[in-house]
Symmetry: C2
């Protein structure tokens, strides 16, 4: 039997395997679970028959000088939370289990999944060189290890989400990526494991990220579409407590820069407060 | 349930799926099938329940100036041969089907599986820059599309085989790589689709590759282990018809250079005859 279409090969193989059609969901995390992660696990439990939550602080996605060692590790609490929501399995490997004992973690000695340069060389990828190579590689490993049918990611890491969808599509990984909305504190602050690094004062200063985004969306809804004009609305919020890294307007699917905002425009912000790098984003839909 | 080991996750997922345990085999080829490919398909049919043969001349593994356009394409014959041996499915996608219509084929716009630099920056990888990125990427795609449990590759492309095993291991692809011995003409010439480019005269000159390797193995069996001495035995075979690219002694598993030959040593040769790039290799076991 000669077949030319990918979709037909997949159907044929499914038929051969007589798959029970059980749906397995994966929620990849670095632990230090908060209500944002909880919402992902909840969504997975609602839509899948079995749910795996992975907890792994992935060394190869941290750049030199970043917080790999300091990153909060709360495995006991994470297991408790994930199981209370209904996760069936928490997978918490050691770095040795994931990358081989004594293995040097470098692209000189390890194979990587490398996302397209166009998607990486902007936004967070510009300051975090190699970060997305590390993310895609560990995520591909987790896909292969769990054989999950669905994987759940937060819209909070918007560039990561676009890049993961892209590599899954380009490399034909047999998995569907489900994106879940950002979970915010009542104040507007987007939940992040790194918020733990902030003082009370810092948390207040951090509100500026969501305020800038909400205001841009309000201006867009009033009819302002010129990106330079929308960017200018941000300045009034900033003080010397804010070390802005970027405020960018891009297409939500392919990350192309926008000069005129529309309903497919994603606005992304990265800013340091008390030395802590925070990100947030909003879709102008 | 908290699990720390990759193997235990895989077992658990298998249990959930209630897998029928059907074995699917994949034989990835670029078509122009010869008796070497036939031996791979035969092995796959013998050891698997269902066998997919892919036929795809993969544009992204050809370097500029190489023979992508000229590469022999004989799909009708290939289908006939594969089915006569017992293949269940021949998958012959177009480049558009594999990479997307109108997609620019570059790491600027496509995600790649990139093997470790140490394994690539030697032997064939030195002259064929980007070749193994293209090979690993298409092979990963075929693994994901077919969901095969076993994939069959010829020992003829020895560096490719080591690199594929390496990326499968590093990225936890749920597939086992089966290597099959080189098939040779009675003369000793290793079968290759590119042998079609040679004149009768050229085929005679091409015998020098296997002769050099057989003689090195004979010398090793007589007790010569010094690699420089073994390399010197090659010179007497070469004429001005031979444009030698490399003759190297490496470890068969990790491609480390050897200065003293042993039973794990792989000897590889690449040489142009009539402008056609030919490769061959032998294990000193």
């Amino acid at each position: 039997m000669l077949i030319h279409k990918i979709s037909e090969v997949k159907e044929k193989v499914k038929e051969w395997r007589g798959d029970k059609n059980i749906k397995i969901g994966l929620v990849p995390t670095m632990g230090a679970l908060h209500a944002g992660h909880a919402s992902l696990i909840k969504k997975a439990v609602e839509t899948c028959d079995k749910v795996v939550v992975s907890v792994f602080v992935n060394p190869i996605q941290f750049c030199p000088g970043e917080d790999y060692n300091e990153y909060p590790r709360t495995l006991d609490k994470d297991v408790e939370l994930a199981e209370s929501i209904g996760a069936d399995l928490i997978f918490a490997p050691s770095p040795d289990e994931m990358y081989g004992k004594g293995q040097r973690l470098s692209n000189d000695t390890l194979a990587y999944v490398v996302p397209p340069f166009f998607y990486v060389n902007k936004l967070c990828g510009k300051s975090r060189v190699g970060h997305f190579d590390g993310v895609c590689t560990v995520v591909a490993k987790l896909f292969n290890i769990t054989g999950a049918d669905y994987a759940f990611f937060g819209q909070k890491d918007a560039q990561q989400l676009v890049i993961i969808k892209k590599f899954v599509n380009d490399l034909n990984f047999p998995i569907e990526i489900v994106s879940c909305p950002i979970v915010r504190e009542e104040s507007g602050l987007a939940l992040s494991s790194r918020n733990k690094y902030l003082s009370d004062e810092g948390k207040k200063d951090a509100l500026v990220l969501s305020k800038i985004l909400f205001n841009i969306k309000a201006c867009y809804e009033k009819g302002i579409t010129d990106v330079s004009a929308l960017k200018e609305t941000a300045f009034s919020y900033l003080t010397d407590k804010h070390d802005m890294e970027y405020l960018e307007f891009v297409d939500k699917d392919d990350l192309e820069d926008k000069t005129k905002a529309d309903n497919n425009t994603l606005v992304l912000i990265a800013c340091r407060v008390e030395g802590v790098r925070l990100i947030d984003n909003i879709l102008l839909a």
